[in-house]
């Protein structure tokens, strides 16, 4: 299966230390911008129950789920705090010409 870089919108649509949603091909992603300007992407839906992580809270490199405050390190996808016990899928992301590019399978 080929991998493609998808345009996920303007880089400045996400403020520092925040997260925004992105949908492609019926799948939800969460794209993060750290306080020092790095970008990361994970699956957009929590692995615990159904909640959109783009409504969550970013602190450092942790995303807290808006539903039950489950915690993930969004740079690795690792679940860091119950009730989040299953890791998130992560996706390569880069910024070119002020646009966020997301590599999806």
């Amino acid at each position: 299966m080929s991998e493609t870089w998808i345009d996920a919108g303007a880089a400045d649509r996400i403020s520092p230390q925040d997260v925004a949603p992105f949908e492609h091909d019926g799948r939800q992603y969460a794209i993060y911008r750290t306080a020092d300007g790095r970008y990361f992407a994970t699956d957009g839906v929590c692995t615990h129950e159904y909640a959109e992580l783009a409504d969550g809270y970013v602190e450092g490199t942790i995303i807290e789920c808006p539903m039950h405050n489950g915690r993930f390190d969004f740079t690795t996808g690792e679940a860091k705090g119950a009730p989040a016990c299953v890791n998130l899928e992560t996706f390569p992301v880069k910024v070119e010409g002020g646009r966020i590019l997301l590599k999806v399978a």
Binding site: Y57, E64, H68, N69, P83, C85
Partner: protein
């Protein structure tokens, strides 16, 4: 049909659990107010300072009241000090358990976890069990057959309520479960919400707690006095009344099986002492709508969304003026509950009138 025939089964493994799933009430989409991302982000911002200040005051007040209780032990002068110590131990621990369980009280996570463990012990709620039960309470708030934290069924059990004033019902259940968990087992209901991967932690903590209680009993026997238990163990009971007084106001008497926290939860204005003890859990509608927002920001959230919410209750007394007659009526009519009116311009409940009518 008589009211007695419509009594529902509140267990998590009975027929109501299936009915809730069939009605689409399990992990349903709930009402959420519209609030800008920038405003929400500001409200969600974590800060250690308020919780460190409040925790230092809490521990200092425990030490001072406990010390004076110790000094005056054997005379009536000890009573007020143990009353204060008991409330700080058996009731203030409720809100610390709650906020630190959500990991929002402190910005620093080890502080949330440390205060959570202490508060759990004080209020006799096993940390892993209650973390998961509270998770379910947030997914399926007051959904019959799903929510393990419905404080009373309809009709209410008045004997159980009387016993709960001094945590006797909860305490007896807690000790029974501690023994089960220390033996390496969970109850059938707990198996519905505690994942396999977390169960070993439950058994370990239960064994440690039982060892602590055994040590307290041994200290009482050795000193031929209940004084050691007045500091550890008993305050959960003699100081637990305020937990129940507050806890009743959160949801009791309001709608069941609705997917809108504005209709099944109460926001109540409280005096500063109550708010210190309760850590702003009186903004209960707001907390359920946005569990990521720390306790110290709930008053601001309340201002931000109040146009979309029913009017808050002016005091706990005002809430009880509603609750007591409802409970009295539910004794003969278990279908009765209070329908909260949304402001005219508020965004409607999901499912509209139908969602309310199911209750």
């Amino acid at each position: 049909m008589t009211a007695a025939l419509v009594r529902r089964d509140y267990s998590l493994v009975g027929p109501e659990a299936e009915k809730a799933a069939e009605a689409g009430l399990v992990s349903a989409k709930w009402y959420s107010p519209s609030i800008s991302r920038a405003e929400l982000k500001a409200l969600m911002r974590r800060d250690d300072q308020p919780a460190i200040r409040d925790t230092l005051i809490w521990f200092a007040a425990l030490i001072v009241s406990g010390s004076l209780g110790f000094v005056f032990w054997g005379s009536w002068a000890a009573v007020p000090f143990f009353l204060i110590y008991g409330v700080l131990y058996g009731s203030a621990s409720d809100s610390r358990w709650h906020e630190c369980g959500h990991r929002t009280a402190f910005k620093t996570q080890w502080m949330n976890d440390a205060v959570y463990q202490i508060a759990c012990f004080m209020i006799l709620r096993e940390p892993e069990i209650w973390r998961w039960s509270h998770t379910r309470h947030h997914t399926d708030t007051i959904i019959v057959g799903r929510d393990p934290e419905i404080i009373q069924p309809r009709p209410p059990d008045l004997v159980a309520m009387a016993l709960s004033v001094f945590a006797l019902k909860q305490g007896a259940a807690a000790f029974r479960k501690l023994v089960i968990h220390a033996g390496g087992r969970l109850t059938d209901e707990e198996m519905t919400f505690v994942p396999e991967s977390e169960r070993r932690k439950v058994y370990g903590v239960a064994r440690i707690w039982l060892a602590v209680f055994a040590a307290v009993i041994a200290a009482c026997v050795a000193t031929r006095s209940i004084l050691p238990a007045m500091f550890v163990g008993l305050p959960t009971f003699y100081g637990g009344w305020l937990t129940y007084y507050f806890g009743i106001t959160q949801h009791l008497g309001l709608a069941e099986d609705v997917t809108d926290h504005r209709l099944n939860s109460r926001t109540i204005y409280m005096n500063p002492i109550f708010r210190f003890i309760y850590w702003n859990m009186n903004y209960h509608v707001e907390h359920h709508l946005f569990p990521l927002i720390p306790y110290h920001a709930l008053p601001k959230l309340h201002q931000a969304i109040k146009a979309d919410c029913p009017p808050p209750y002016r005091s706990t007394i005002a809430a009880y003026r509603e609750i007591i007659p409802v409970l009295a009526r539910q004794l003969s009519d278990p279908t009765y509950f209070v329908r909260r009116e949304l402001p005219q311009r508020a965004r409607p409940a999901p499912g509209g009138v139908a969602a309310v009518a199911r209750a």
